[in-house]
Amino acid sequence: MAVLQFALLGLGLGGAYALLALGLVTIYRGTGVLNFSQGAVAMICAYVFFALRDGLRLSTAGAALLAAAFAVVLGLAFYLLVMRQLRNSPVLARIIATLALLLLLQGLAMLLFDVQTRTPVSVVPATPVDLLGIAIPMDRLILAGVAVVLAVALSLVSRRTRIGLAVRAISDSEKGASLSGLSPVLIGALTWAVGFVLAAVAGVMLSPIAGLDAKALTLLVVPVFAAALIARFTSFGVAVAAGLGLGMVESALQLVTDAEGAWYTWLWTGPGRSQALPALVVIIAMIFSGRLLPARGEVVRGRLPISPPPRYRVAGPIIALAAGLAFIFSVRPSWLSAGVVTLAGVMIALSAVLVTGFIGQISLAQVAFAGTGGMLTALLSSAGLPFLLVLPLSGLVAALLGLLAGLPSLRVRGPSLALVTLSAAYICQVAVFSDGRLLGGQGYNRVASPALFGLELGGTGFAVVTLVIVIVTGSLVAALRVSTFGRRALAVRENEAAAAAAGIDIKRFKLAAFTLSAFVAGVGGSLLGYQANVFAFERFTIFESLHVIAMAYIGGIGMVSGALFAGLGASGGLFSQLLATWGADSYQLVIAGGALLLAVQLHPDGMAATLHTIRERRGRRSSPAPAAAPPDDGKDRSAPAEPSVPVK
């Protein structure tokens, strides 16, 4: 079958990517936010529409109107209540707020609507049309057409109308726009409302094609971001063209990628290759152009969450050891397992603290590093290697991957790096971890029981070993923070140019951070493997990565205590076990999403950081007030007096 014909078949996929990308671009242009929840919004609006049309039997027009109104209200509410307060918060906080919305919407959909995938009847006719010798259902063509029409409309609005002009002005310089009398909040709210309505259109048109369930559209995040990225998050036309293009290429790739091949064709044959393509496009495009996300002239450039030096560097580990041992030897096995999962989660989150908290490189690939560790563990332990050897080796291989992943960080930073790492993690998820040829159904994904010095480690034994490993790692990370390495890391984080001028080798630093953090994550993944006796590849998805970062952020991503919080909230961890015990399992997503939304607003730097700030303020109040009026003796006191901060 000709490549062209196959490409045309990809119009359904491409239309999906294009429509969702349009909304992404709109929201970014208006407020500079990368909205990771665009797919989730599409999903919930679709649920509302079909509930109105099929459940309450409203007319299509009536349902559409109400669904659009719902989208507008949701967009305005989310912007005014959440995103607006975060305008001066760290970039990571804004990303996490959208992640929180994603979790909340998924949880709500599962609670309020039927969970199983539904295939609603299409809004537009779906009879097959003969095009170039193949039959394409009409609704796919209409979908692509709608995307193109919307792009044209949006471009016209942007270029010709005053409001479009205002949005472009705000994109260029928020300060300039404010000074010109334009209200950033009004424009921001408008773009979010429009962006959500675009999502609603996407959701309603896509559900008959892609199926409607709580997870379907949410998972399209990587290809949609790829399309928006190619458009530099600026051009509507390019976003649609890129979306359609990516869909068509993905479909055309089916011609080559599904075939089985000899080992040297493994790179492009096998599972997930055609899905990995958009992710690869993102990575290559980013690396070659350095920065695709256009700079925005904001009043305050997004800063990073604080990373105060750790307190209790001696008391902390001792208390943790005592509490941990008490826990291990007194609870039932199910809670013990949950505890070990929490400890492994702490390891993975510690890796996030290292690379994101300390060095300021936003990495969404931590769970992929853990997955690499887990995969290696399955392979090595099946080959007969002992526990003590497998653990560090798995970490080392993960570290190698970390080194590789660190290379893009030399070229890109901030949200761009977040997208690159997310894409790398996505490639691991669809094309590496689920490739049965690497692990096989022959049982190679099994992990042998861990044994130490010949003695097999039972549940409690293994838990103790894990506890010790995690405490040691945590202490080392805390020690790193106050060492020379740590101080230099913070310098790199705050101002790379200044740090470089001070003689710090930025490249080596970033690579070292990625490598070290990947090692720690790899060991975490290995521990998970030993705990379950299996490499559960489905655990190492991009959503787990997002989950870990979000939880670690709330706990304080610049601090070891943030990792603790993330471990507690990990799937299968202690908090999850608690909910299961209360029978409130189905509320986990809603609770997590809601809590995250609250937390990211109240504590944009993380909860532990807020505690720290409170302590600091209390400390300052007790010492003499600074900045008294400078004496009038003719000396130049033009610099403002620094408030005295107790040095810890």
Binding site: M1, F6, L9, G10, G12, L13, A16, M110, V115, Q116, T117, R118, T119, P128, I134, I136, P137, R140, I209, A210, G211, D213, K215, S251, Q254, D258, P271, G272, A315, I319, A323, A326, S330, V331, R332, S334, W335, L336, S337, V341, V430, S434, D435, G436, R437, G441, G443, N445, A532, V534, A536, G572, S576, Q577, L578, A580, T581, G583, D585, S586
Partner: protein, 420 residues
């Protein structure tokens, strides 16, 4: 400084205490069954790990059958040794982390065996832990290689190992030469593709094409078009209930003329309503006879479920669930001495055949060579026509008769033939 340490220590201590208390105290996971039928003895606890809250796969009806059949055992059959049976079903959401959690919680609450494990995530993630705990699973729907071989797993029907190979035999026996297969992009899906490839050669087929699909993909049209372009005589789609309607619609849209076969999980009312006439003529592999079949077993099945679960849609899944529950009852009743997980295992290891309920009987000593636990490898092929299932006929099986066991008007097909 010392005044500052105490509050934090207090907080940490309280947190640990709370967790320890929660961990030591009672608290079962979701879903215990009612209906102990007034029996007084110490309840026999069974566990069941299911995926209920998940877009692609729902075992909700299995949970209903678990509880209904337990009520039947207690109310009509007098329990086991005078003791009521209680089945605790746990919903793992298809999440690997929760599967392990479900297993651990069930073990903690003292189950002597698991029944009807049908979770998507179980085989790949929690099976080793189940073996380590020494607990068996009776019945259920196996889908991974480990579940076909684990010495602690005792399904009464072949699950995926029967559906797809059975369809392949049917196609071969009805003259198909080229077979196309679409499987999901997971290791177990890839296994299906590989296994069918080998099998098709053995069955004498001359052409084979396989392709993977992502169940979460936005559009199945490219995948199906690719298959159509290969011009197969027969197509096997290893697809679940969630994606089936769109797959069938894609088949119809591309004008694919070949016969299409799927497993019974895609044969529910929901699918037929959503797919409309795109489901006409689709072949289904059922491990059980149709719900309206005329036999004593089927009548019992219909009566029990009408009594204890009225309004439940009777599907292939509910039939297998009922069969598994009956298998569990017959097995546990045959245990000599005290009912413990070890004695249950020992009884099952004796390898006595079981006559089946709605399903083909089991023959443990003659299980297929590579799947020692699939003691019943037989499936029925039914065609969906005008709203009901019609047995698909094989005119002349030729040299494939070793795969087929004719019992009355039923032609049971074993994709992986028994040893003898």
């Amino acid at each position: 400084m010392s005044t500052r340490i105490r509050p934090k220590v207090l907080m940490a201590g309280t947190a640990v205490l709370a967790l320890v208390l929660a961990g030591c105290g009672g608290g079962d996971s979701a879903g215990t069954s009612a209906g102990t039928g007034g029996l007084k003895g110490d309840p026999i606890k069974l566990g069941s790990i299911l995926t209920i809250t998940n877009p692609a796969w729902s075992n909700g009806s299995v949970k209903t059958v678990n509880e209904a059949w337990a009520a039947h055992i207690n109310g009509d059959l007098g329990g086991i040794g005078g003791r009521p049976v209680v089945v605790e079903s746990c919903d793992d959401h298809g999440d690997p982390a929760k599967t392990s959690q479900c297993l651990n919680n069930l073990i903690d609450s003292g189950v002597v065996a698991l029944v009807n494990n049908s979770s998507l995530a179980f085989g790949a993630n929690a099976l080793p832990a189940m073996e380590k705990a020494g607990i068996v699973n009776i019945g259920g729907w196996p889908v991974t290689a480990d579940e076909y071989r684990s010495p602690y797993n005792f399904p009464a029907t072949p699950g995926a190992a029967g559906s797809y190979p059975g369809l392949a035999v049917y196609f071969a026996a009805t003259g198909a030469k080229k077979l196309a297969v679409a499987y999901s992009n997971t290791p177990s899906g890839q296994l299906v593709g590989q296994a069918l490839k080998k099998q098709w050669e053995t069955l004498g087929g001359t052409g084979y094409f396989m392709t993977e699909f992502d169940a979460a993909a936005a559009d199945f049209t490219p995948t199906i078009s690719k298959i159509a372009s290969e011009r197969p005589d027969a197509v096997i789609l290893a697809v679940g209930e969630g994606a089936a309607p769109r797959m069938f619609q894609a088949v119809k849209n591309t004008g694919l003329a070949a016969k299409v076969g799927v497993s019974s999980t895609a044969g529910t009312q929901k699918v037929f309503q959503a797919a409309g006439d795109a489901a006409e003529g689709i072949l289904y592999a059922f491990a059980s006879v149709p719900a309206d079949y005329d036999s004593e077993d089927a009548r019992t099945y219909r009566d029990v479920l009408k009594k204890y679960a009225p309004g439940l849609d009777l599907t292939g899944q509910t039939a297998v669930a009922a069969s598994s529950m009956q298998y569990a009852y017959d097995t546990l009743s045959a245990v000599k001495g005290e009912l413990t997980k070890e004695s249950v295992l020992a009884t099952l290891q004796e390898g006595k055949p079981w006559k089946g309920l709605l399903t083909h009987g089991t023959d443990p000593k003659n299980a297929p060579a590579e799947m020692p636990q699939v003691t019943n490898p037989y499936m029925l092929i039914l065609e969906y026509r005008n709203g009901s299932f019609v047995p698909a006929t094989i005119q002349d099986p030729g040299n494939l008769s070793q795969y087929i066991d004719i019992q009355g008007d039923l032609a049971w097909i074993a994709g992986n033939p028994p040893k003898s």
